[in-house]
Symmetry: C2
């Protein structure tokens, strides 16, 4: 994949020795290709301008997001708030005048946090220091009496593995490797640290630990604990797990340098029986190739502690706005445009799996799918991926459109699309993720402060406009 990325970077603008001859040849070939294919028309540029005008002056996404984060506050899969979010978005989609809106059933896990978590450092003199904490999603609880145990600090899963069993047995393991601040894209930093949250409990349990405490996944030093899912690798070895705020992680680490400490932990979270829930789907059938689907989507569920404004209310309302903006422009799509709001991305991905498994069984063809799940920040373009057998050719095709997107600061690059659509790859269309400015995402991700006030209206609207513009180009020119 990276070779291709270097290839495209190379065609862009570097005139250096090494690439010179290569570039020369590329230019000759590209010129000939361009002459053969013909130009996108000025009317495309004008239409994309109109898309942005509508998004910025008559877009509905910010209003929808305000409502969704209210009626669906804390809408973890299976919760009443999630059901309210399904109901609300279905109703809104019903107002748009597309061909059909329906709910696709899926049975989701139902994890509940229970009472407010208690996490305390127990000092040698038995005094305690309260820590700001959230149980991790899917975690078991400690039982009503809580757990008190000595705490040991580690920086990685490997470090736990390398410790002798007796150093871990009966202990609470504190995972404290920060996200790497040197990563420009904060998702890369997240990717480099989140194994502690996802697998920390399993790896520590294997060594006999009784619980884990994980440093929150954020570059900031602040007081907001960040929840998120864990995954128990062995169902017989499940131990409670919480995240603590980065300020508290720093405090705990500093105190551990002075003396041995214990932690008292009390959580009452539990997993109840599965619940029926739904993906929310709206379809606008194409006039020429109705069997070719262009999907836009986000995930409707969010963590229970916040409004899920950036994660991923933003993606949902942007996907909805794609339909609304095109409707306001009296557009008639040639291909079928489907808006899908997926359920249970956060702690199970049942909605995504249900959608793509059903789609694969029905032998549908998603010519393209675009997910927005990186927050409602200023768009920077799109990341793209696809089945290896078709990717290079189709990406080259789309790459030609970049000059139409560049005036809006939008660029194309290789990269993942979105968890909910990743299973559509075998249909051999292209999969895109809305690429945004990532600096602030982990200030809010999975916290109580991921609320509407954290979203800038124009940044959200520009993301909706970016998605609509790509949908328009895909619909106009297809991928063949």
């Amino acid at each position: 994949m990276m070779d291709l990325d270097i290839f495209y970077r190379t065609t862009k603008n570097k005139f250096f020795l090494r690439e010179s001859l290569f570039l020369f040849l590329v230019c000759v070939l590209s010129t000939l290709t361009a002459i053969a294919q013909g130009p996108p028309e000025d009317k495309d540029a004008l239409f994309i301008r109109e898309i942005h005008d509508i998004a910025l002056t008559q877009g509905s996404c910010y209003g929808w997001l305000t409502d969704l984060t209210t009626v669906g506050f804390g809408r973890l899969a299976g919760s009443p708030a999630a059901a309210a979010a399904v109901d609300y978005t279905r109703k809104m989609l019903d107002t748009l005048g597309v061909d059909s809106v329906w709910l696709q059933p899926c049975r989701v896990p139902r994890w509940v946090r229970g009472e407010k978590e208690q996490v305390q450092i127990v000092l040698p003199d038995k005094k305690t220091i309260e820590l700001k904490a959230l149980a991790l999603g899917n975690s078991i609880g400690t039982g009503a009496n809580g757990i008190t145990a000595p705490v040991i600090e580690v920086r990685s899963l490997d470090e736990v593995d390398s410790l002798p069993d007796e150093a871990v047995k009966g202990k609470i393991v504190f995972f404290n490797r920060p996200m790497d601040p040197r990563q420009i894209n904060t998702f890369n930093a997240y990717g480099g640290a989140v194994d502690q949250r996802v697998y920390g409990a399993s790896r520590a349990a294997k060594k006999g630990a009784v619980a884990v405490v994980v440093r929150s996944m954020t570059n900031r030093l602040d007081d907001n604990p960040h929840t998120g899912t864990l995954s128990y690798q062995d169902p017989t070895q499940r131990i409670p797990a919480v995240a603590i705020s980065t300020n508290d992680a720093e405090k705990l680490s500093a105190l551990l340098k002075g003396s041995a400490l214990s932690i008292y932990l009390r959580t009452t979270c539990e997993t109840l029986s599965d619940v029926e829930s739904f993906n929310v789907i709206a379809e606008w059938r194409g006039s020429e190739r109705p069997g070719d689907i262009i999907l836009v989507g986000g995930h409707l569920d969010a963590w229970d502690v916040g409004g899920g404004a950036h994660d991923d209310g933003s993606g949902c309302v942007q996907a909805m706005d794609v339909l609304q903006i095109l409707k306001r422009l009296n557009y008639q799509p040639k291909h079928t445009i489907r808006c899908v709001l997926f359920m249970n991305e956060e702690n199970g991905l049942v909605g995504g799996r249900t959608y793509w498994q059903t789609s694969n069984e029905l032998e549908e063809y998603h010519m393209a799918a675009i997910e927005s799940d990186r927050g409602g920040f200023s768009p920077r373009g799109f990341t793209a991926e696809g089945h290896v057998s078709i990717f290079q050719q189709k990406y080259k095709h789309v790459y030609q459109w970049e000059p139409l997107l560049e005036p809006y600061g939008l660029h194309l690059r290789l990269g993942g699309s979105g968890a909910d659509i990743s299973g559509l790859k075998d249909q051999k269309g292209l999969l895109f993720g809305l690429d945004v400015d990532t600096q602030r995402y982990f200030d809010f991700h999975h916290t109580a402060v991921d609320v509407i006030e954290a979203v800038n209206e124009r940044e959200l609207e520009l993301g909706a406009a970016a998605m609509t513009s790509l949908v328009f180009l895909l619909d106009q020119y297809g991928l063949e």
Copy 2:
């Protein structure tokens, strides 16, 4: 200028019919040029990577900004807070170990706001509605008794000009044309609306108006009035002027549709005698071409009602951090690097004028100057301008470096640099402005909410890293 922009856009990545032949020729020429010039080395990419590492892990700019917005809160030119800001930044620059730090005197105007503004709608039944308002900088006051007069709403300077004298005489003119939300770059929207704030009072006074009320310069609908400077074109025709919040502008406009209204206005602002103030300058002399100066800067003054965190504390601390980051990397510049914090950009530009007039008299050569004055938001690259006789050639030279900046999301484009450095153009170097994501700037600009909490630490640091990277490349390769 635009033709050149199209030229560069064209070389970047479009392979469409119209440009195809042109592109082909450009590629041939560029390839030959590249072969002649040789490549920037991998060591450059590595050094730019190190610059970013240092900025994100050991940068000082956020800490400095926290201090500056505290000790220098409300640091309008000539104020005690501005003097404290001069003192603080000089001290910080003194710690960096560069060759010299000095203050360049300049006499600045001293405008003071006086008591809290009172602006009220007076309804036909004499009831009043309080509006959130700020007097415009440089405005005269109403006198202690205030002014009450009928209000008329207009959308432009031209509309005032077109009205019969008797429609304006004795009235308060309400300028209510919003910033255009369709502009992607919010500075363009600002540029399209700010004539009302700058010249509204003069144009209305010419027709006999007694005061003006201006809609605040922001795309948002909120309760924060935005101050900013006005300019009296005729010193014998000065009338008081205030800005009201956009929510209040909407309210006033709606009420005016129902009935004729008056406004009561009371401001006690005034312009005192000029005061001695200073530009703060730090110089790090070059080892090979000390006579060639690379300037980095921002303006130190800010409006009196806020912390001036984005405008332009951010630019100042980023410019300071350029020196600090290079020092931490044990860099030895070939050219002289000068960090200049300009005084009085907001309401007079005396610092900028003093600097460039002195520099021109001394026959200095600023090979390049970079100003950061668009807020401490995620950097997008640089805008560039220069004397017409050298611009094309020098910009082409710099444009070759873009591949080294692209991994950080940084691009070059044509555009203005900064008010404080604009007068250096005749020295025939290149002038740059740090280009950032502009969506949130006018949420804070010239308001009480432009405080440290509005600045994201990583976004600020990335801007400092971007400036440092460009300084490094300019210093390594010059502009010849």
